[in-house]
């Protein structure tokens, strides 16, 4: 029986068990992407939104699948929902703000394969969260993802001007930064307990 409060769930997903720094989810996009603050914020916001919608749908799908006795269709249904949500978000942004759409460019379709979003859906199902708990969990995960993304992008921007050995430029450096950040975030453990 779960006795976590909503606040604990949020803090947990955002800081203590940050999706990027503790679970390594969602790093595909920004490892390959240059570290710019602006893109980081926009990507983070888009991801948070998709996480929220997917989380709600995942909750409904899971309940439905369990009731018809077909739990094995879970993965496929989640993926389909996430892909569709991203498609809808893409069309929506294209219509509402073509400028934003152009600046986000390739990132939007990349969100579909963002491990973090599927991760949210899968983890919340495993933890058997209720509807409200799932929403809070998704919001926390999205916030944490954005936070990690912004931190790393900011650091990388600063490092552009630093003198770094050539072989470590690029991915290796980003990984080191991420590792140190991950250690820092461990300090949050026990928060909200």
């Amino acid at each position: 029986m779960n006795t976590e409060s909503l606040g604990t769930i949020f803090l947990n997903a955002c800081l203590v068990n940050n999706f990027v720094l503790a679970y390594f989810l969602g790093i595909c996009p920004f490892l390959g992407v240059s570290g710019k603050m602006e893109t980081a914020t926009k990507m983070g916001a888009a991801v948070m939104f998709v996480m929220l919608i997917s989380s709600m749908c995942a909750y409904g799908i899971h309940a439905f699948l369990v009731s018809i006795g077909a739990p094995f269709l879970q993965l496929i249904s989640y993926i389909v929902v996430i892909a569709s949500t991203v498609q809808l978000v893409e069309m929506f942004i294209k219509k509402m703000s073509p400028a934003l759409f152009r600046s986000l460019g390739i990132f939007l379709p990349l969100i579909t394969t963002n491990c973090a979003i599927l991760g949210v859906a899968l983890f919340q199902t495993n933890k058997a969260y209720g509807f409200l708990e799932s929403i809070v969990y998704a919001l926390g995960a999205g916030a944490g993802f954005t936070l990690a993304l912004i931190l790393i992008a900011g650091l990388r921007e600063q490092l552009e001007f630093a003198d770094i050995p050539k072989i470590s430029k690029g991915t290796a450096l980003t990984l080191f930064i991420a590792g140190i950040l991950s250690l820092c975030f461990m300090g949050f453990a026990g928060l909200g307990a």
Partner: protein, 232 residues
Amino acid sequence: MSEVANIKTQNLDGSKKMLLAMVGIGIISALLIVSTFELTLPRVQRLKAEALEKAIFEVLPGTVKTEAFGVNTNGELFKMKAGDKTETTIYAGFDSNEKIVGYAIEASGQGYADIIRILYGYNPDKEILIGFQVLESKETPGLGDKIEKEVHFLNNFKALDVSLANNGKLENKVITVKQGEKQNPWEIDGITGATISSRAIGNIIGTSTTELVPILYHHYKKNHQKPTESNE
């Protein structure tokens, strides 16, 4: 004119092809998944049941047979039949003489890193906990995971006092204290390097026993307790 008609039929053919392809793949997928599921289901269920039994035998030493119970809305135990689903499942363990050894209770709660799931054994005759096992934990290896292995911590659960007061509720709530400061039989001596994890265990057991021990004791008295013999 005919060009337009051509394009239109091409589009229609195109959409039909797309639909056909997706549906075809959908059917192949469904077949693969369902057959794997059905093939593995019996073995998976058997493995899960075996693992659970093993855990119950460990927290209720001497058990050879188990029975599953659920808790209904009146706060009473009822025997579970195949297919019943409850929020909390409790297992009664019986020894080779068909005498009840105790109840194995599953509980969970937030630890340092993630949720910890435990199984503990309750002996209603002596009103103590007699066994404890961590089922699932993602605590920090080398630090938090001491709750699973450290001997002095595990010894806490050989005779943890959960006796009831006259009002039917727990006399003293189970709680974790700092390592070396255990003074009362209902306290859990913690682990210095793993304060949060050991405290979490205390909280989990505390909450679970407060709720369930009265119910289990009541059930035990009604169904199993022999009248006290004169030759004590």
